[in-house]
C-alpha cells in the first residue's frame, strides 16, 4: 500500500510541470478573449514552465512540454482565426451583395410605382375638373389603365413571394402537352395578331420524356418567355418554341429573331425589376424573367439566355430542367 502510493507520488512530482503547463494553457484557451496578443499566450506558457521548474527540477521535460503545448495552442488558434476570418469575409460579401440587390430593387420599385401613380393623379384631377363628358370618360379610362399597371406589378410581386413560401407540386408533366397549351394560350392573346409561333418537338425515336414538377408553374414560366418574345419583336420576326433532351435534362427554348439584347444587359436580365435598355418603353412589370428563373431553380434546373444584336440577330431563352 505504501509502496504504491509512493510510486504515484513520484509520477505526480515528475509530471507536475506538464500538468501545470496544461492547466495554464487550458485557462489561456478559455479565459483569454478570442484573439489575444501572441505574446500573452507565450508569456503564459513560459510562466507555466517557471512554476513547473520551481516545483521540481526536471528542466528538459518541462521545457519541451511547455514549449510544444504553447506552440500547439498558438497554431490551432491561428488556423481557427484564419477560418473565421474567411467566413467573415464571405459573410460580409454576401451581406453587401444582398444590400446592394435590395437597394437596386427598392430604387426600381420606386420607379415602377411612380409612373402609374403620377398618371393616376393626373387622371383624377382631370376627372374632377373636366366638364365635357368625353373628357371625363377619357380620364376614367386613363385611371383604369394606371390601376391595371399597378395591379399587374403587385400580382407579379405576390407570385414571386408566393414561390418562396409555398411548396411546389411534384407530379409527372407531359412537356409537349404543356407547350401546346402555352402556344395555344399565346395565340389567343391580342399580342399574337398577325404573328406566328412555331412549335418544334422531337418525336423520334421515343415519345418525349416526362418531367417531374409543378405543371402550373412551368406553364407560367414558358408563357412568360413566349409573351416576352412576342413583346420584343415585330410582325416580321418569327418566334419558335422548342423542346430538346439529352438523356439527363430537358431543355425548353423560346427563340425569336428580334432586335436582341445588349450585351451589357445580359448579366442582369434575370434580376427583379431590371429593365434592359430596349425594354424601358415596353409594358410589363419587369418581374417576368425573375419569375421564370425562380421557377427553374425550384425545379432543380436553371435558366439561360443568348442573344445577338448583329446579323443574324435574335434571342434564345432556355429553361433547363432535370428529367423525371
Amino acid at each position: 500500500m505504501r509502496r504504491l502510493s509512493r510510486k504515484w507520488l513520484r509520477y505526480a512530482k515528475l509530471t507536475l510541470p506538464m500538468w501545470v503547463g496544461l492547466l495554464l494553457a487550458g485557462l489561456a484557451w478559455f479565459l483569454i478573449p478570442f484573439a489575444p496578443p501572441t505574446l500573452t499566450t507565450i508569456d503564459i506558457g513560459i510562466f507555466g514552465l517557471v512554476i513547473g521548474l520551481s516545483i521540481r527540477n526536471t528542466a528538459l521535460v518541462a521545457f519541451l512540454l511547455g514549449f510544444f503545448i504553447t506552440g500547439g495552442i498558438l497554431l490551432v488558434r491561428y488556423w481557427d482565426k484564419r477560418r473565421v476570418d474567411e467566413a467573415h469575409t464571405l459573410y460580409a460579401d454576401y451581406v453587401e451583395d444582398a444590400q446592394q440587390k435590395r437597394r437596386h430593387f427598392l430604387r426600381r420599385l420606386d420607379h415602377e410605382i411612380k409612373n402609374p401613380l403620377t398618371g393616376l393623379r393626373a387622371a383624377l384631377v382631370n376627372l374632377q375638373e373636366a366638364q365635357a363628358v368625353d373628357e371625363r370618360r377619357q380620364a376614367g379610362q386613363n385611371a383604369d389603365k394606371a390601376v391595371e399597371r399597378l395591379t399587374r406589378l403587385l400580382t407579379d410581386l405576390r407570385k414571386l413571394a408566393d414561390l418562396d413560401e409555398r411548396p411546389i407540386e411534384r407530379y409527372a408533366v407531359n412537356v409537349p402537352d404543356l407547350l401546346d397549351d402555352v402556344v395555344d394560350a399565346a395565340r389567343a392573346t391580342p399580342a399574337h395578331q398577325g404573328r406566328s409561333i412555331s412549335l418544334l418537338i422531337p418525336k423520334i425515336p421515343s415519345p418525349f420524356p416526362m418531367l417531374t414538377g409543378d405543371r402550373d408553374l412551368l406553364v407560367l414560366a414558358v408563357y412568360n418567355l413566349v409573351e416576352n418574345a412576342l413583346k420584343f419583336t415585330s410582325v416580321n420576326d418569327s418566334v419558335e418554341v422548342r423542346a430538346l433532351e439529352d438523356g439527363r435534362a430537358i431543355v425548353i427554348e423560346v427563340a425569336d429573331s428580334g432586335a436582341g439584347i445588349a450585351s451589357d444587359d445580359m448579366s442582369k436580365i434575370f434580376e427583379e425589376l431590371y429593365r434592359g435598355s430596349n425594354a424601358r418603353s415596353t409594358e410589363g412589370s419587369g418581374l417576368g424573367l425573375a419569375l421564370v428563373n425562380r421557377i427553374a431553380i425550384l425545379h432543380g434546373g436553371g435558366c439561360g439566355a443568348r442573344s445577338s444584336q448583329a446579323e443574324p440577330r435574335g434571342t434564345v431563352f432556355s429553361l433547363r430542367l432535370p428529367r423525371r
Binding site: L157, R158, D162, R166, D184, A185, A186, D216, V219
Partner: protein, 239 residues
C-alpha cells in the same frame, strides 16, 4: 328586392378602403355599417344581426380570422366574406378552413365584391350553417372530407392532386353558382395570369376523369360556355 336592402357589416381598418367601399355598396342598395377593428365587428354583429359580414384579415385589436372564429363559436352563422391580404398563400386555405363563405384577394374590383355579396346572399339560408363551414360535404355518392383532404366516390378514395382537390372544394362549397376560370384561379391559385385559364381547364379535366364525369352529360361539373363551371349536384354539409 328584399336582398338589396340587406344590412352589411364592413370591417376594415383602412379608411381609404372603407370610405370608398361603403358609399359604393350603399349605392348598390345595401345598408352598410362600417367598423375598423375585429372587437367592434364582433359587438356589432351581435347587436345588429347583419345579413352579411365583410372582414379584412389584418385589423387592430382582433384580426379578421379570429373574429370569424369567435363568431362561429358564438353560433352566429352570418355569411362572411374575408378580404385577404396580398402575398399570404396560406391565407386562402385558412379562409376555407375557418368557414368564410367566400374570400377576395386585395386589390379587387368593387364590382367583383358586389357580385360575390349577391351570390353569397342568394345561397344563404338565414340562421343555418353554410356549406363553407362544414367539414364533410356530400353530393350523392361523392364525399369530400375537408379536414383529411380526401375525396371518395362510392366509398373509394379518388386520387387527386392538391390543386384539383382545392378546385373540387371550391366548387362544392359554391354549388349551383357559375364560377369563372379567373375566379377559380384567384381562389385556388391565388393569382391569375393569361395562360392560367387553360391551367384551370387542365385541372378540371383531371377532376372529371377522377369523378368519372362525362362533360356532355355531367352529374357533377357542368361547363358553361364562355363563362366557366358550375357544380350541379346538390351538396349537403355536416360537421
Amino acid at each position: 328586392m328584399s336582398i338589396d336592402r340587406s344590412t352589411i357589416l364592413l370591417a376594415d381598418d383602412d379608411p381609404t378602403i372603407a370610405d370608398s367601399l361603403a358609399p359604393f355598396l350603399e349605392r348598390a342598395g345595401f345598408h352598410v355599417l362600417v367598423v375598423s377593428d375585429g372587437v367592434t365587428a364582433l359587438e356589432k354583429a351581435q347587436a345588429h344581426h347583419p345579413e352579411l359580414i365583410i372582414l379584412d384579415v389584418l385589423m387592430p385589436r382582433m384580426d379578421g380570422r379570429e373574429t370569424l372564429r369567435r363568431l362561429r363559436k358564438l353560433n352566429i352563422w352570418t355569411p362572411t366574406i374575408l378580404l385577404t391580404k396580398v402575398g399570404e398563400a396560406s391565407e386562402r386555405a385558412l379562409a376555407l378552413e375557418e368557414g368564410a363563405d367566400d374570400y377576395l384577394n386585395k386589390p379587387f374590383d368593387p364590382h367583383e365584391l358586389l357580385a360575390r355579396i349577391r351570390a353569397v346572399l342568394r345561397r344563404a339560408r338565414p340562421g343555418e350553417r353554410s356549406l363553407s363551414s362544414a367539414w364533410l360535404l356530400t353530393a350523392s355518392e361523392l364525399v369530400l372530407d375537408r379536414r383529411a383532404r380526401r375525396a371518395t366516390l362510392s366509398g373509394e378514395t379518388i386520387e387527386l392532386t392538391p390543386k384539383a382537390l382545392a378546385v373540387l372544394e371550391y366548387l362544392m362549397t359554391h354549388p349551383d353558382e357559375a364560377i369563372s376560370r379567373e375566379r377559380l384561379l384567384d381562389a385556388v391559385w391565388g393569382w391569375e395570369y393569361p395562360a392560367g385559364t387553360r391551367t384551370v381547364d387542365t385541372r378540371m379535366a383531371e377532376l372529371r376523369r377522377a369523378l368519372d364525369d362525362d362533360p356532355s352529360e355531367p352529374r357533377f361539373i357542368e361547363t358553361i360556355p364562355s363563362e366557366g363551371y358550375r357544380f350541379i349536384a346538390s351538396v349537403y354539409g355536416e360537421g
